[in-house]
């Protein structure tokens, strides 16, 4: 008799537990649905807000000055150093406010070498700053809203030295190599309009005789 009572009590406890678990799950699932619906509603509102900015995109671009540092390679002719190669990073910061999805592309336009006592005056125009990797441009796909990509461009500089004026051995000299022009272009996929912005960075190198 007692055993029967105990087993009945156990059964009731088990049944109650199961019912509680089922109800809890049903409530949580309902809550999950509610939150998801609310999230979708918010998304729709955000979409509406972003539409109010409408079609024009705003593009702001700037780049820090870049120091490509000491030479990684020296080229010499008849024992006189003629040319050096430098590598380094250029950090740019872009801000785009756009109302549609689009692609932002950044590429190097041209380089204007500055005159310097350490650079060969005859080959000043041959001084070159280019992309160090295979990438000719950097592309970002941007979602509507404010986007702030920070591209890092790996640069390579080919420098022709003035063989008559080297810095003293053991000393390093930092000087400006010139200005690098870059262009940022934002293509709005929906309107197919392009907003472009030119910006530049001063490129420095450090010269040190081996």
């Amino acid at each position: 008799m007692k055993n029967e009572k105990t087993s009945r009590m156990h059964k009731r406890i088990a049944l109650n537990l199961v019912v509680i678990i089922l109800v809890a799950n049903a409530v949580l699932t309902g809550f999950n649905v509610y939150l998801t619906v609310q999230f979708n509603q918010n998304l729709a509102n955000l979409g509406f807000q972003s539409n109010t900015y409408n079609s024009t995109s705003v593009l702001i671009a700037r780049a820090d000055d870049a120091n490509l540092g000491k030479p990684t390679t020296y080229f010499s002719l008849d024992g006189v150093i003629q040319q050096t190669t430098h590598y380094g990073m250029l950090y740019a910061s872009i801000q785009v406010i756009n109302s549609h999805y689009g692609a932002l592309t950044i590429w190097l336009k041209d380089f204007n070498a500055a005159e310097s006592e350490y650079l060969s005056p005859e080959r000043l125009n041959d001084t070159e700053v280019s992309s160090a990797d295979e990438k000719e441009s950097h592309t970002y796909i941007l979602a509507p809203g404010l986007n702030q990509p920070s591209p890092q461009l790996h640069l390579k500089a080919q420098v022709y030295l003035n063989s008559e004026n080297f810095p003293p051995k053991g000393e390093s000299v930092k000087f400006s190599l010139g200005h690098l022009s870059l262009e940022a272009e934002f293509l709005d996929f929906d309107t197919q309009t392009i907003v472009a912005k030119e910006f530049s960075a001063e490129i420095f190198i450090v010269l040190e005789m081996p």
Binding site: V18, I21, L22, N25, A26, L28, T29, N32, V33, T36, V37, F39, N40, H100, Y101, A103, T105, S137, T139, I141, A143, F189, D190, Q192
Partner: protein, 507 residues
């Protein structure tokens, strides 16, 4: 109304408790087909495989036997699906697919095939327990068993056929019904080359079950075992025949112990036991959780009937030694190699308990308890799986935009797109996609090679969705950067809306 009641009663009398199984199969097929089609239409379902199967079967209907493009140069030189995996069983889906050749049809077929497994599950349970009511409950339990939902929700796959055929093989082997066994064993072998070791272990189980050499079932098991060994090599050779590149899986599942394929494993375990231990303990918590989730809905009872779990050992062995999470999670179709044998282990345990007079709870009550545990597990686990696919977050408007862009692509034009859109445009010979580059750096490298090769093919349309899920967005980004930008002068922007962008080759 009375006519319907009479028919129902008639069916009940004629079919016994089996009628409940048939109703359950019908409900399961309808419910899960709706769920899968909803996922499919929201561009979210396991799209890689579905796109591949849709393209292979569509091409078969149009004269190019099981041809697909997604793995050309990776696993297949020729584009034949049989080079990637030897699974001619999928040709069984061809007649119904021919009636309505779409991804939705494939999803309904695979759901039905998985659901049919409840029939042999019921028959085996009845055979073991000699109680139709309990067997019917266990048949329904099988359909509610959460690891089975992984097979169903992963869309169309050869594993959907395997999971059901394994059951039929076990049933006809223990019965034994040699004629029907002679039909289902070859079908089982044709599901996937990975099914061969499982069927060999079913044969081992059959030998242990029948014991006596004089028993027909024992002899049949021996024959199956003898067939499996050469068939495994035959399947591998067929893959080579159809153009397999010989490339091992790009997932590098057993890289921790230096093995490149399953056939490498035994030797590597012997030569590198430390590596094997590291592999086993890698992601240990997830592996433990996997085992718990497999056994919890059956109240860990298969541990009392380990003999039934024997055929699951080949897959458990390779999955627990791997570092590839899909092998030891409920998502994906790989549980197909385990589910039938957990069920078989459960039946062994129930029969064992049935024979013990000291065990006070009746088997019927225990089965009810298991069913309840299974329902609770299903309620708890399914929302977790659903949340992954964001079933409640179907963005109807955005999906309509994708569909409207798909409609702008002429039926026979070549298309390149990301893998979540691929199943919807793969009903053409020249449909292309690439794997999400976030899968691995090796996939990214191969993707870039594929895009470079596609540049030479003058693909007419490129459809990208930059506002889909992150893995698909990375694919869209890669296609834009490595395909559209290098060919910028050749492609024009046809239209764009809400992140969906369509490019067309300029004429």
């Amino acid at each position: 109304m009375s006519k319907m009641t009479k028919t129902a009663k008639g069916l009940r009398t004629r079919l016994g408790f089996k009628v409940y199984i048939l109703i359950a199969i019908l409900i399961y097929t309808v419910v899960f087909s709706i769920v899968e089609i909803t996922l499919y239409r929201s561009f979210r379902i396991f799209t890689w495989d579905l796109g591949v199967f849709n393209q292979a079967l569509w091409n078969t209907l149009h004269g190019r036997f099981l041809y697909y493009t997604a793995d050309i140069g990776i696993y297949t030189k020729t584009g034949s699906l049989l080079a990637a995996h030897f699974m001619p069983i999928i040709l069984l889906a061809l007649p119904p697919y021919a009636v309505c050749p779409t991804g939705e049809t494939l999803l309904v077929i695979s759901t039905l095939v998985v659901a049919i497994g409840a029939l042999p599950a019921y028959e085996i349970a009845n055979f073991f327990l000699k109680n139709e009511k309990t067997a019917a409950m266990l048949g329904i339990f099988y359909l509610l068993y959460p690891p089975l939902q992984g097979v169903t929700l992963s869309g169309f796959s050869a594993e959907s056929f395997a999971v059901t055929l394994f059951f039929f093989i076990v049933y006809y082997l223990i019965k034994p019904d040699l004629k029907k066994l002679a039909l289902v064993v070859p079908l089982g072998l044709l599901t996937h080359e990975a099914s061969v070791p499982v069927i060999a272990f079913i044969a081992l189980y059959g030998m242990l079950y029948h014991r006596s050499v004089k028993n027909k079932g024992f002899q049949a098991s021996l024959v199956i075992l003898a067939i499996c060994v050469p068939f495994f090599f035959f399947a591998q050779n067929m893959r080579i025949f159809f153009g397999w590149t010989g490339s091992p899986s790009l997932w590098h599942e057993w890289a921790l112990m230096g093995a490149t394929s399953t056939s490498d494993l035994p030797l590597k375990i012997f030569l590198n036991p430390v590596g094997a231990w590291n592999s086993l303990t890698f992601d240990g918590l997830a592996k433990l959780a996997y085992l718990v989730v497999l056994l919890l809905p059956v109240l860990f009872l298969p541990l009392l009937g380990l003999r039934g779990v024997i055929p699951a050992t080949p897959f458990l062995f390779i999955s627990l030694l791997s570092g590839y999470r899909l092998y030891y999670s409920l998502e994906g179709h790989y549980t197909a190699f385990v589910v039938p044998f957990i069920f078989l282990g459960l039946l062994h345990a129930l029969r064992r308990l049935q024979g013990k007079p000291r065990f006070r709870i009746s088997i019927l009550k225990l089965t009810k308890l298991i069913l309840l545990a299974c329902v609770i597990s299903l309620i708890v686990l399914l929302p977790l799986i659903y949340s992954q696919y964001q079933i409640f977050n179907v963005a109807g408007e955005h999906d309509n935009i994708i569909r409207s862009f798909i409609l702008r692509i002429p039926q026979n034009a070549s298309v390149l797109t990301q893998s979540n859109i691929f199943p919807h445009i793969s009903d053409r010979p020249d449909a292309y996609t690439i794997a999400p580059p976030i899968w691995s750096p090796e996939y990214e490298r191969i993707d870039k090679e594929i895009l470079q090769n596609l540049s030479k093919l003058n693909v007419k349309y490129v459809l990208l969705d930059f506002s889909s899920e992150s893995s698909f967005v990375t694919t869209a980004n890669l296609i834009y950067i490595d395909f559209i930008i290098p060919n910028w002068n050749e492609y024009g922007l046809v239209g764009a809306k809400d992140g969906v962008v369509l490019f067309c080759l300029k004429t």
